[in-house]
Each structure stands twice: as structure tokens, then as C-alpha cells.
């Protein structure tokens, strides 16, 4: 009898111990290295926040420098096979690989950043970066003296085009003479190429550089040129304060990652599509430094606060498309569907979007 009780006790203890180590495994797939100082760095900060929040209850794994395309499918599959319960795939180009792998692992939850394809076990999440671009465009338009603003694009996808349009609309609003020069780098992360692109834009007269690539190289080029300003992209890039980095867009993924991990642990995870902006804290505007004149700073903060409290939408009519056809009437606000698939420039931008 006693012995049975003892055994039962041991079994119970073992069982408890077993339960205690039953962790939730969360995987992350990164497009660049965690040390890029930009996009991937911030996703990794989100991962670390998940670890901090849940301690021993979660185990996180990540793979960095995963090429977009077929190789991503292999990496995501491997992660699912290793027992991940929740996998965040953090780049646009992982969209189809994520959906493909998700079909093979119905019990694993997937979260794809910046995409638009969902499934019962695939959610999408993104931040309204264009809200931050509106603030940047305002500062850029007011600070440029050559009236030429250089813009380093990565790939011609809706997210990047939205950013260009938003920045242009707001630069134009405060400075009607402003002109955008756009260079497509066809990479998310290649410091040498990004530096070349920034130098070319500066040589062609730009004194403000906006970037939609992930490294700090364009800021380094701006600093070397002197008298050129830029903005932190995806991360604060505070080491280039107070100039050339005069402000930044910071992606804050931590609250979302913690929430979704908790949903999986509680069994309440459901497929959804979220798109959060400045109001929810997913997009933050980094400190506007003293290099920015008071007037420009005030204008930028006004745009930011208007967006944050919902009074102002960066895409408010009247707005025409590049070819002059009307898009939004006076006071009309762009709907999320159009924004999500945006593939046109607004009126005033020159050049064509590569197809």
C-alpha cells in the first residue's frame, strides 16, 4: 500500500516535472542577420521580449539570412518538423513558402509579416509604416534646400510603393517644389549596394535620403557627404544621431509577438489579419533631433498626433494617380484594400514602377 502510494507519488512528481518542461516552441525566420541594425534587429528584439515575458515556458528558435523563395520553404519545414508550435516568417517574400508549409502542418500556427495570404493556420500581420513615412515626408519636405529628395527602394511591392507615395504627398504638401529621385536596389540588405545608391543620389543633388532597405549604410554615406540628412529605417539607428539621422520609424513587434504566443499557449489562437499603426504602438517615431528646425518639428508632430488619435489619414483626397486620373475625391480616405495592393504612384512622382 505504502509502496503503491510512493510509486504514485513518484509518478505524479515525474508527471509534473514532465508538464513543467512542456514548452511552447516559437520559431522565427529572418531575411537578414540579427545584427543588421534595422528590420531583422527589431524582429529579434520582439523574440527576446517573448523569452523575457514567458521565461521557461517558451523556447524560441530562429534562423537568420534566409533567402526569400524556395530555400525559405525548406527552413520553415525544418522548423515545423522540429516541433515549433508557432512560426513567425518575417519578410514579404516568405508568403508562398509559408502558405505551402502551413498546408502540410495543420497543427502548427504560422504568422507571416507584411503579406496578404491567410489560411486557417496562417495569420498575417503588418505595420502601417506609411504613417511613419508621412511624418518623414513632412520633415524631408521642410528641410530640403536642393528640393531633391532621394529615395532608396528595395523591391517594387505595395508596401514600399505606399511608403514612397505617403512620403511624397506630405513632402509636397509643405514644399510644392519638391522632387523625388527613386533608386531600386533590388535587395533588402546589401550595405555596399545601399551605400552606392545613397552616394549616387547625393551626387545628383539630393540632400535628404529616405531608405526602405535595412542597413545603416545609407546613413553612413549621408554622414560622409555632410549636409545630408536621413532617417532610421525599421529601427532607431540612434548611433547616427543627431545628424544625419534626424528621426526614425521604429517597428515595435514585441507586444504582438507576446500576445500571439500567449494565444497559442491558451489555445485561443485564431487566424486573422492585423495591420496596426502609430495608434497601437506598432509603428513608433524615433526622437526628432535638434537638427530639425522647431517649425518642421512642430509640423511633423502635428501629423504624427493627428494620425495617432485617428483625426488624420495620410491618404486623404483630393489625390490623383500618376497619369492624372482621379483616385480620391476631396476628403475621401483610401480603403485598406487599395492600400494593401497599391501598385501606382500618385500624381507628381516621376519615373515608372518596375513591373
Amino acid at each position: 500500500m505504502k509502496r503503491t502510494a510512493l510509486l504514485a507519488g513518484v509518478a505524479l512528481a515525474l508527471g509534473l516535472a514532465g508538464a513543467a518542461v512542456a514548452q511552447t516552441k516559437v520559431g522565427f525566420v529572418y531575411v537578414g542577420p540579427v545584427g543588421d541594425g534595422g528590420w531583422t534587429y527589431e524582429h529579434n528584439q520582439g523574440r527576446l521580449a517573448v523569452e523575457e515575458e514567458f521565461g521557461d515556458q517558451v523556447e524560441t528558435v530562429y534562423v537568420e539570412n534566409v533567402a526569400e523563395g524556395p530555400d525559405a520553404e525548406r527552413v520553415i519545414t525544418q522548423m515545423a518538423l522540429q516541433g515549433a508550435d508557432l512560426i513567425f516568417t518575417t519578410s514579404f517574400g516568405y508568403m508562398d513558402p509559408t502558405v505551402n508549409v502551413a498546408a502540410k502542418f495543420p497543427d502548427v500556427k504560422f504568422e507571416h509579416a507584411t503579406g496578404y495570404k491567410t489560411a486557417p493556420n496562417v495569420s498575417t500581420y503588418s505595420a502601417r509604416f506609411y504613417e511613419g513615412r508621412a511624418v518623414q515626408g513632412t520633415i524631408a519636405g521642410m528641410m530640403t534646400e536642393s528640393n531633391i529628395i532621394g529615395y532608396i527602394g528595395s523591391y517594387p511591392i505595395p508596401e514600399v510603393i505606399r511608403g514612397i507615395n505617403s512620403a511624397y504627398i506630405h513632402a509636397k504638401k509643405v514644399n510644392p517644389d519638391v522632387e523625388f529621385k527613386i533608386v531600386w536596389a533590388y535587395t533588402w540588405f546589401d550595405p555596399a549596394k545601399e551605400a552606392d545608391a545613397a552616394k549616387v543620389l547625393i551626387e545628383q543633388g539630393a540632400d535628404v535620403i529616405l531608405q526602405h532597405t535595412d542597413s545603416t549604410a545609407p546613413l553612413a554615406a549621408a554622414k560622409a557627404a555632410g549636409n545630408v540628412i536621413g532617417f532610421g529605417q525599421a529601427s532607431d539607428m540612434a548611433e547616427y544621431k543627431p545628424s544625419p539621422r534626424v528621426s526614425s520609424i521604429i517597428d515595435n513587434w514585441a507586444p504582438y509577438y507576446i500576445q500571439r504566443t500567449r494565444d497559442v499557449m491558451d489555445g485561443t489562437w485564431e487566424s486573422q489579419s492585423v495591420w496596426q499603426g502609430i495608434d497601437a504602438g506598432m509603428v513608433e517615431i524615433g526622437e526628432i533631433t535638434d537638427t530639425v528646425p522647431e517649425e518642421a518639428k512642430a509640423a511633423a508632430l502635428e501629423v504624427m498626433n493627428g494620425i495617432a488619435n485617428g483625426e488624420y489619414h495620410p491618404f486623404t483626397g483630393p489625390l490623383n494617380k500618376q497619369d492624372g486620373t482621379p483616385w480620391l475625391a476631396e476628403g475621401e480616405i483610401a480603403d485598406d484594400g487599395t492600400l494593401a495592393g497599391m501598385n501606382f504612384y500618385v500624381e507628381g512622382l516621376t519615373g515608372e514602377i518596375p513591373q
Binding site: 539570412n65 546589401d190 549604410a217 516621376t350
Partner: protein, 305 residues
């Protein structure tokens, strides 16, 4: 379209900067291959040189010491390759690939503390001479390393063409058994060539992290080492053609960005692939004189065989 926005003087000046990392890495690999060794680890040695140079330049505040450290770092990594291929007689292709993977990992590890730091500035070699209109920015407006790169090319050319040492190096690369029979130390010569290649690749990497970008980020060489390997082949193992190829590649790279910024109506995809296509095309035409690869390239040598 506004082509007048492109300043040809600045274009030539910046293409020289863009081409220098490639030039340094390629000229090093050229010597290695002329000695009959195929080292696919250029990318790994470059990135290791990039972080070694960056770290030392930051710690000491001297870019010159940084470049010396970069050359040493690249050479040190190539020692590993030399031991594997020359003494353990391992397969050169596999060892080279392993060297690249190892170098990429090692550099991230070494670079942990150096993300987001700015390196000391490398000044221009000739100071005020760079202010002369037109020729100033092109001929005199650069940092010292750019000229060192060109000097290395000239030196390698002269060595291979005019000196006994160059003749021996080529003999080892063409037929190592014959060279051995004549009493030349095949292994010793090859190890020295490998070390030289490593040092040059290291310098090329440091040129990216200290001058061209300048900062440290993981994986920042982004494939230039592979382009250097291809360039050596397309340049038919000739030093001046490596220079032409590197400048062509750098030039088209910079030019296509300039054309984009000026709003030229050529689809960007074509512009983006143009550096690769044009460089290959021109070098293939140049190599119509049937220059062949060193005959012993990639073959393992052992004195018994």
C-alpha cells in the same frame, strides 16, 4: 529623363571606389590560381578581413593598422586552407567552400561588439590635389588603398611577366610534376601564393568595411568574393584584364544606379543585371585569344605521384 544630372567626373571617381574591393580580391585569387590552386574561400577571407580590419581600426583609431590587420586576418584564415589542401591533401573545392562558410560564421562572432560603431575616417591620399577640376577627383581624390590596389595589379603583372619568381610560380601552376622534378618546392610556393591571396582578399573586405560603406554589418561583402572568382576566369588569368573587368563591373554598377536616379526609361531589372552581363560579355570577347587555365589548376600535388 535628365541625363545632365549625371556628373561624369563623379561617376568615374565613384566607380573606382566601387571596383576596388573586387579588384583586390580578384588579383589575389589570380595569383593563387596561377600557382595551380583553386581557392573558393574568397568570400570567407574577405569578410574575415572586413571585421579584422574594422575591429583593429576602431580599437587603435588608425585605418592603416586596420588594413594591416585585415591582410593578416585574411592570410591567417587562408593558412587553414593551405594546411587542408597542401598537407592533408583535401579536395580544394570542398575546402574552399568550407572556408567561406567558416569565414562568414567567424566574422559574425568576432563582429558582435562592433555593430553600429563608426570607424575612424580614412583621409584622401593627396589632400588638396583632389580639388583640381576634372582630373582631381579622378586621379588624386582617393584614399591610399585605392592606389595600393592598382599598384598590386601592376606588381603582379610585372612579377609574372618579367621575373624568375613569376616564371616559377607559373611553372608550378602549369605542371607541378615537372616543376617538382626541376627541384622547385611546389608546396612552399603554393602556400605562399595562398597566403598572398588571403591577404589581398582581406584587404578587399576591409576596403568595404572601412571606406566604401563604412561600418560593420554581418554578411556585408554580399557575394563580391564570388564575383571575384568569376572575374579571374573571365579575365583569362591576366592581371590587367582583371583591372578592366573590375572597373567595368564597378562602372556599370554605379552607372545603372545613376541612370535610375536620373529617371531613364530602361526597366530597372535590365539595369540591375547589366553589370554581370556586360562584364562577362566584354571579357569573353577579350579572351578570344584562346588563353587557357593553368593546367594544374585544382589538382592535388603529392611528391610521390
Amino acid at each position: 529623363m535628365d541625363l545632365s544630372a549625371i556628373n561624369p567626373v563623379l561617376l568615374i571617381a565613384s566607380l573606382m571606389v566601387a571596383a576596388t574591393p573586387l579588384l583586390l580580391a580578384a588579383i589575389g585569387e589570380l595569383v593563387v590560381e596561377r600557382a595551380g590552386v583553386l581557392n573558393l574561400g574568397v568570400e570567407g577571407m574577405m569578410i574575415t578581413g572586413a571585421i579584422c580590419g574594422f575591429a583593429i581600426a576602431v580599437e587603435t583609431g588608425s585605418p592603416v593598422l586596420g588594413f594591416i590587420a585585415a591582410a593578416l586576418g585574411g592570410a591567417l584564415l587562408s593558412v587553414l586552407f593551405a594546411i587542408l589542401t597542401q598537407f592533408a591533401l583535401a579536395n580544394q573545392v570542398a575546402s574552399g567552400l568550407a572556408l567561406t562558410l567558416f569565414g562568414l560564421g567567424l566574422s559574425s562572432l568576432l563582429g558582435q561588439r562592433y555593430v553600429g560603431i563608426k570607424p575612424p575616417e580614412t583621409g584622401d591620399a593627396f589632400g588638396a590635389l583632389g580639388d583640381i577640376p576634372v582630373i582631381g577627383p579622378i586621379l588624386f581624390g582617393h584614399d591610399l588603398m585605392l592606389y595600393v590596389g592598382i599598384l598590386i595589379v601592376a606588381g603582379v603583372w610585372a612579377l609574372l611577366k618579367f621575373t624568375r619568381a613569376g616564371l616559377i610560380l607559373r611553372a608550378v601552376g602549369e605542371n607541378h610534376d615537372a616543376a617538382h622534378a626541376l627541384g622547385y618546392k611546389v608546396k612552399r610556393i603554393r602556400v605562399m601564393a595562398i597566403l598572398f591571396g588571403g591577404a589581398c582578399a582581406g584587404l578587399g573586405g576591409a576596403y568595404i568595411s572601412l571606406i566604401r560603406v563604412p561600418q560593420w554589418t554581418e554578411g556585408m561583402t554580399a557575394g563580391i568574393g564570388w564575383i571575384a572568382l568569376a572575374l579571374v576566369v573571365f579575365a583569362s588569368w591576366k592581371p590587367w584584364r582583371v583591372l578592366i573587368g573590375a572597373y567595368l563591373f564597378g562602372g556599370v554598377t554605379v552607372l545603372q544606379l545613376n541612370l535610375q536616379a536620373a529617371g531613364v526609361a530602361i526597366p530597372v531589372e535590365y539595369l540591375a543585371m547589366s553589370p554581370y552581363l556586360i562584364t562577362i560579355l566584354v571579357l569573353v570577347i577579350l579572351s578570344a585569344d584562346k588563353s587557357n587555365a593553368p593546367a594544374s589548376l585544382g589538382r592535388t600535388f603529392h611528391a610521390s605521384s
